[in-house]
Symmetry: C2
Subunit: 238 residues, 2 copies
């Protein structure tokens, strides 16, 4: 039987502020608007609200682009490319992305939101908080919007996860012809993050999506840092 996924954004999550109980807010909104969360739901939480709840806001001068630029430099450990205002760099977390993942949209004027210090830990905290508040076992993905080399447009990917394997490894399984599969490692957390973006959008005010129906065999201890972030030594493009 084919799996069937259902994906929807959680209504009623208002503006999130430093030290807010994000897990509690999510659980309450899901209970009020969607009949509650269920065991096995995958929650995709966009980075911006995680950063806000964790107080990762810093003041920037909206009239001075150098203020934003200095922040990008401070959050980067290595710059890969520059063109005009665009900087592609490796952040201290190991992500390679534009402008060190610092984005000014959907943040109060005069502030910028930095990436969480450890998005895998952020995901674990939300997962633990949901268990404590709603008594359900969910998986959590923290997502952010990254560009890609060679392909135009941005997609949402996972920068942290908890309770779900970042990579689904098909090694040892065979295709319909009984031949061993060459494509062995699928980044399911990135596919889930992108799927969630389809119902969230960038201007919706909905920062959290639920993906229901995910194969329970995918649930395990994992992290984006350990499984997705590519070791620079094995990277052909750094």
């Amino acid at each position: 039987m084919s799996p069937r996924l259902e994906i929807f954004g959680i209504e009623g999550i208002g503006e999130v502020r430093p030290r807010d109980d994000l897990a509690g807010i999510i659980a309450a909104a899901a209970a009020e608007h969607h009949g509650g969360l269920r065991d096995g739901d995958v929650l995709v939480v966009t980075q911006k609200v995680v950063s806000k709840a964790e107080g990762k806001l810093v003041a920037v001068d909206p009239d001075d682009p150098r203020s934003h630029k200095a922040l990008v430099e401070a959050e980067s450990v290595r710059v890969l490319r520059r063109r005009g205002d665009l900087v592609i760099s490796e952040t201290k977390h190991g992500f390679v992305c534009a402008n060190a993942g610092i984005d000014l949209s959907n943040v109060e004027l005069g502030y910028a939101a930095l990436l969480p210090d450890d998005s895998d830990r952020s995901a674990r905290r939300i997962r633990d908080g949901i268990r404590a508040r709603a008594g359900v076992e969910v998986a959590v993905i923290v997502s952010d919007t990254f560009g890609r080399t060679w392909r135009r447009g941005l997609t949402d990917v996972a920068i942290g996860c908890a309770g779900i394997g970042a990579i689904l490894d098909h090694r040892g399984t065979t295709d319909t012809q009984g031949r061993e599969l060459l494509v062995t490692e699928v980044a399911v957390v990135d596919e889930l993050a992108g799927a969630a973006d389809l119902v969230l959008g960038k201007a919706s005010g909905r920062p959290v999506a639920v993906i229901r129906g995910v194969d329970e065999r995918w649930f395990r201890t994992s992290s984006v840092r350990d499984e997705i972030v590519r070791d620079p030594a094995e990277d052909l493009f750094r």
Copy 2:
């Protein structure tokens, strides 16, 4: 009101062979197992069955790896990196991927499936075929599995599309603070292709997924070649 997506794989699509009527096969299987396709459904069709139906199969000697290697070279216009057996190249279609998109799994032993000559055209043909056979207006995405720089694991992305905008452009829209959005171009066809992979998998024998509930404002004439493939001149990593 938040959009709600439903994603499922179509059951009952058997082995696809050269000159098969792929649109007819998909429409019949959807009618038999899922109550039929509906206006506004997005069909994600994996590249392998498109290539098979279009006869893009070539003989390779399964005992001679040079045979596969020569094919990869023939399908590439430019090699970006090599490491061991891995070749990252630009294909004649403009895609940058491993091994020119040629994969031996789920193909009869002794054969390899090449990418379709023009996957956007393939998508248009399937869309037209579904309209002719089932009387419904669907969007079609042809998907393939690509790796990424800097991130481990593979995800499914779009190599062709019809009836849906490849890129969703937020330019001119504002965030919840009334500020113009910086993230303006979202590659929704890639997010849809990745979402479909979550219900298809690599060894399932299910090559086509339906995504139901996609915002109808996203439906328009478009192509992956025109909107997603990045012009080498504007590419920072080529």
